[in-house]
Amino acid sequence: MIDKTLIELPTGLTSRRRFVWGTSALAASATLWRPTIARAADAIKIGYVSPKTGPLAPFAEADGFILGGIRATLKDGLAVGGTSYAVEIIEKDSQSNPNRAAEVASELILGDEVDVVVVSSTPETANPVSDQCELNEVPCISTVVPWQPWFFTRGGDPAVGFDWTWHFFWGLEDIIAVFTDMWGQIETNRVVGGLFPNDGDGNAWGDPKLGFPPVLAGQGYTLVDPGRYQNLSQDFTAQINAFKQGDVEIVTGVVIPPDFTTFWTQAKQQGFNPKAASIGKALLFPVSVEALGEAGHNLSSEVWWSPNHPFKSSLNGLGAKAVADAYTAATGRQWTQPIGFAHALFEVAVDALVRSGDPKDKQAVVAAVAATKLDTVVGNVAWGSGPVKNVAKTPLVGGQWRRTPDGPFKYDLVITSNSVAAMVPTGGRMEAMS
């Protein structure tokens, strides 16, 4: 602990000087206080980066609850290879900013000297943190980014892959399969209107080779794609015009929540009423659906995790429903999808640390991560069988938001498609909106 105080004492200095001070202090302590160093090394340090503030903050909203549970489970430490280690989880806030995410990742790696980094929620958070870990050769586990924007955006080569960074989530191919399965359940003219923004997700979804267009064409759907728009547009008249003219009955897209509200309200004002609207991103959180008032009924969305998923935690044995109920009991709030994945992230990390034999040996830890075969609260996570070396896929289903006049919350997410993940039970069939 002595070395830690030394590093943190001169807080008034700039970070570079603090770093130099810190390293020289470390070098000094290495020769003078070797026993202290050895004792301090007994704690396993896990670094966790998530967007606690800024526009992406809803993703990290359950962090306090999840980490409280994980810390309670690990309070007696971990036994690895016959030695007992205390576990310290160090949280960092990315402030929803990719530059900040990279900065805190390097603080975790160089300052706190963590043994493994775990990171969650959107390419803006997971990608820069993964890049820092790859660069500094620290094991990193990430989630809550469809795998293509995580792998290809970082310049991943499927033939080579990455050495230190490992990712589990689903991919674009799954969401396309889920959405088309949901639309197949209702009677429509199979004309689809696309709302694809000019950002990483929108360009991937609208990509003429890898996105929605080829699959839709193959299944006999017609796609009306007015083109990429900028996020935070205040007016969607052009899209609504195009959809009305193209006789669109199904709307899809990957839209940020404020834009979807603007679009949906304007669509109603201008008399455009599609039979189905399956939207990625905008409808993840119950609050965004509640914000639409009555007009949110039967909107559909991808579902990565729900209380009805038949999985349970490898850390505390609780099932998905128990985890969600505990969250509601502790916070009074409805469950959200990131809860399961934040929990699973620590399941995977702890499992790998235990199997590594030596949590202080980064090579051993990363080898253990790569060899993971674990049943978690979000399903089985196992690298090796995924689309590329560093990606493990988790099951994806689709659902519709239904009003629940009698329930504790205004809306409930009912699973209506499990064509790609048959182990997850459905709660009903798709219903047309109008």
Partner: protein
């Protein structure tokens, strides 16, 4: 037909931009203060309205009775307590202080209200529309916003040119030292101007909160178009701000009709064109209004 619809919707959107920009324009006109926290203050007004709805169950539009005075008092206190101390020959200190204010408001709201998206539910009025000849449909709410924007700007214009208070505002703006010699309390004048500006912010905040969802971090995005509307119209000119907002809205609408990717771009291009060809804006009017 589509183009006509794009223009009509663009004009209505322009009303919204003008409503958001009016307070900014007013403050700049009176005291040369560029308020970076303007967008966040509008979001703050949305949250005040939200609390009023939670507490009283009033219709969101009726909460204006409470939100407008609260914001006006806040504006007066803010100007007297903080911003007046930063005004001077150097324009940087007020800029930096309002920037800091923006960060404080955002994080304060995040702490208090969490990152949840919020929206004011106004019921049926949100989606009702008037059918116009030619198959056009105009939403009642956007139309109401446009009318309110025009009324507010006309009202401000009236205050500035037809009242004692307006004369004092203009005097302070033109020549603070002489105004003081004539017995005008500049600090009080500036604070009244800020109160007026935040009262307008309150109206904009409530309408925006009904129109779409908001969260603590969305303020800066509101600010950008307001800035552009003010610059296009000419700094310090209120009617210019309305014209600037409409030009921006129509440019975006037409841009989107060509290709949705051009929507915001077209607005920015018009903005740049005005800056290059007529840096003083379309309707500059001396120092104020």
């Amino acid at each position: 037909m589509n183009l006509l619809n794009a223009v009509v919707q663009g004009i209505l959107l322009g009303g919204l931009y003008a409503l958001v920009a009016a307070g900014l324009s007013l403050i700049f006109g009176v005291m040369r203060l560029v308020n970076i926290a303007h967008g966040d203050l509008i979001v703050l007004a949305g949250y005040v309205a939200l609390v009023a709805v939670w507490a009283t169950g009033l219709h969101p539009l009726l909460t204006l009775i409470v939100v407008v005075p609260i914001m006006a008092v806040l504006g007066y206190a803010l100007q007297r307590g903080v911003l007046n101390r930063t005004l001077g020959a150097d324009i940087l200190p007020p800029l930096l202080v309002t920037f800091g204010l923006s960060v404080i408001i955002q994080n304060g709201l995040l702490q208090t209200f969490t990152a949840d998206s919020q929206k004011l539910q106004a019921g049926a009025i949100e989606t009702v529309s008037l059918a116009l000849p030619g198959g056009l449909a105009v939403g009642v709410l956007p139309l109401a916003m446009f009318v309110v924007a025009v009324l507010i700007i006309a009202g401000l214009q009236l205050v500035f040119y037809r009242t004692e208070l307006g004369r004092a505002f203009r005097a302070t703006s033109d020549d603070p030292s002489t105004a003081r010699l004539m017995g005008i309390d500049n600090a009080h004048m500036f604070a009244l101007a800020m109160a007026l500006a935040l009262a307008v912010c309150a109206v904009a905040g409530v309408f925006l909160a009904i129109r779409s969802i908001f969260d603590p971090a969305i303020g800066p995005a509101r600010l950008l178009f307001a800035f552009e509307a003010v610059i296009i119209g000419g700094l310090g000119s209120l009617w210019g701000t309305l014209a600037g907002g409409i030009i921006l809205g129509v440019a975006q609408g037409i841009g989107a009709e060509i290709n949705p990717g051009w929507q915001l771009l077209m607005g920015h291009l018009v903005f740049l064109a005005v800056l290059v060809l007529r840096p003083q804006g379309l309707f500059p009017k001396g120092s104020l209004a």
